[in-house]
Amino acid sequence: MTNSRYLRVLQAAAGMIVLAAGWQILSYVFPHYLFPPVPEIISRTIEVLITGSLLVDVLLTAGRIFGGLFGAFILGGILAMVIGQSKTAENFIAPVLTFFQGIPALSWVVFAIIWFHGIEFRVLFIMVMTTLPAFTFQILDAFRSMSKDLFEMTMAFRPSRWTLFRFLIVPTIVPGILTAWKVNLGNAARVVVVAELVGATGGVGYQLLRQQQLFDMAGAMAWTLQLVLFVLVVQQTINAIENWALRYRAVSERAM
């Protein structure tokens, strides 16, 4: 690790240590059912991770997040390509997506409960509807930023539509796709909990509801941390993919 990377890790760790210390102080001042001690939260967090029956709930939520994001990504990618190639399609689709963006996640939860019976389909529907506009607009922006020069150069070789898509469009929109995944991951993690709180019989949201009914703050924190850990791991994975996929970019030696 380079010195600057060490420094970054230390700074991040220092922030978390200060937060944990503050919480620990609060646990001395207030009753433990309001602010449980940090070691208890950590032990409950580890317990969830090493207990198969509890880990299933974490994996269930992770699967729902991925399913929803993947569905929105595919649908958003198709819509972005259609909008990008047709002004009429843009005039027709863009206002609808903008309208969808204004609908709160909780409203989609209510609609899903009224319209559908299957729990998994409800969650998938909610996830797709809440992340679809962002995916579409971000991929569309990336598509529109495609260089006219590179387009003309590629067209000079007379590629088929599929070849053009493979050799020019996909590499052009990859940075936009990765950004869209990073942005939507956090949103999806928040929305999935709301969806699970209301209608699911498993998952992190369902477990959070149980902890609330049991008035178990340590448990609520442990389940919340599962989701935070999941988001952090996936963010780091996307960052690693981004570093690999965009390795061609020049990096200035002078730090910003």
Binding site: E152, F167, L168
Partner: protein, 257 residues
């Protein structure tokens, strides 16, 4: 005029564009007629904005004439777009390398689009990079190459598909004079050696005279104001005379409409 069976033939070709502010059209090419024979290197010279690039884009099939007839190898380059797969190689003013592809992959691009065998594509691309002095840089990304090296890669990309016609739009204008001179000489050698037909657009008189078998000078909107053929036996005095003539033609050009 060139032979009876030209590779490129323009007959009264005009091209107009709508003005960005919507107030009418402006004429970029005005009833342009010329012929280019197989194996000829024709340098097209003119001031910035005289319609050289518009003519270039018509030959490349990237835009369609508003009127008149443009034929390349006997076909309409815009309407019969697919016919020209692998027949035209283009070197642009800027290198237009894909930043996410290495030098080797950039040269392989045209061959991949033409569905060449992967092994053959790599071998050909490697050979062209070597010919242009870029051995050892196959895996470098464009940002790691100098301007001259990037332009060499773009020349290799154009030659790698073994096109019948090479179109060059001021390809060395952004390079320093020494690099440009070396690349010009290399370019002419490769065109002659591979028996290609080439159209070379430039706004530098010396470059046009150095490269072209024939020099066409455009006035704005693109139409031929002067044309000359420089034989191998041309003396320094002949060249000076042509240079002066071109200077005179360019200096009487009107301001853009």
């Amino acid at each position: 005029m060139a032979s009876a069976d030209p590779v490129i033939r323009f007959r009264d070709v005009s091209k107009s564009f709508r003005r960005p502010d919507g107030r009418g059209d402006f004429v970029a090419v005005d009833k342009l007629s010329f012929e280019i024979a197989k194996g000829e290197i024709v340098a097209v010279l003119g001031k910035t904005g005289c319609g050289k690039s518009t003519m270039f884009n018509i030959v490349a099939g990237l835009i369609e004439p508003s009127s008149g007839e443009a034929r390349v190898i006997g076909h309409n380059p815009f309407r019969e777009f697919a016919f020209f797969r692998g027949k035209i190689g283009i070197v642009f003013q800027n290198d237009r390398l894909m930043p996410w592809r290495s030098a080797l992959d950039n040269v392989r691009l045209g061959l991949q689009i033409l569905d060449s065998d992967a092994g053959h594509a790599s071998e050909t691309a490697r050979a062209w990079l070597k010919r242009l002095g870029l051995s050892g840089h196959e895996n470098d990304y464009p940002h790691a190459l100098s301007g001259g090296m990037r332009q060499r890669v773009s020349i290799a990309r154009a030659f790698a598909v073994d096109p019948e016609i090479l179109l060059c739009d001021e390809p060395f204008s952004s390079l320093d004079e020494m690099t440009a001179r070396d690349l010009r000489a290399e370019f002419v050698r490769l065109v002659r050696q591979n028996n290609k037909t080439a159209v070379f657009i430039t706004h530098q008189i010396n470059e046009a005279m150095e490269i072209g078998d024939r020099v066409m000078v455009f006035h704005r909107p693109a139409r031929i104001a002067y044309e000359t053929r420089l034989g191998a036996g041309a003396t320094d005095a002949d060249r000076r005379k042509v240079h002066e003539d071109i200077m005179r033609v360019l200096s009487v050009e009107q301001a853009p409409a």
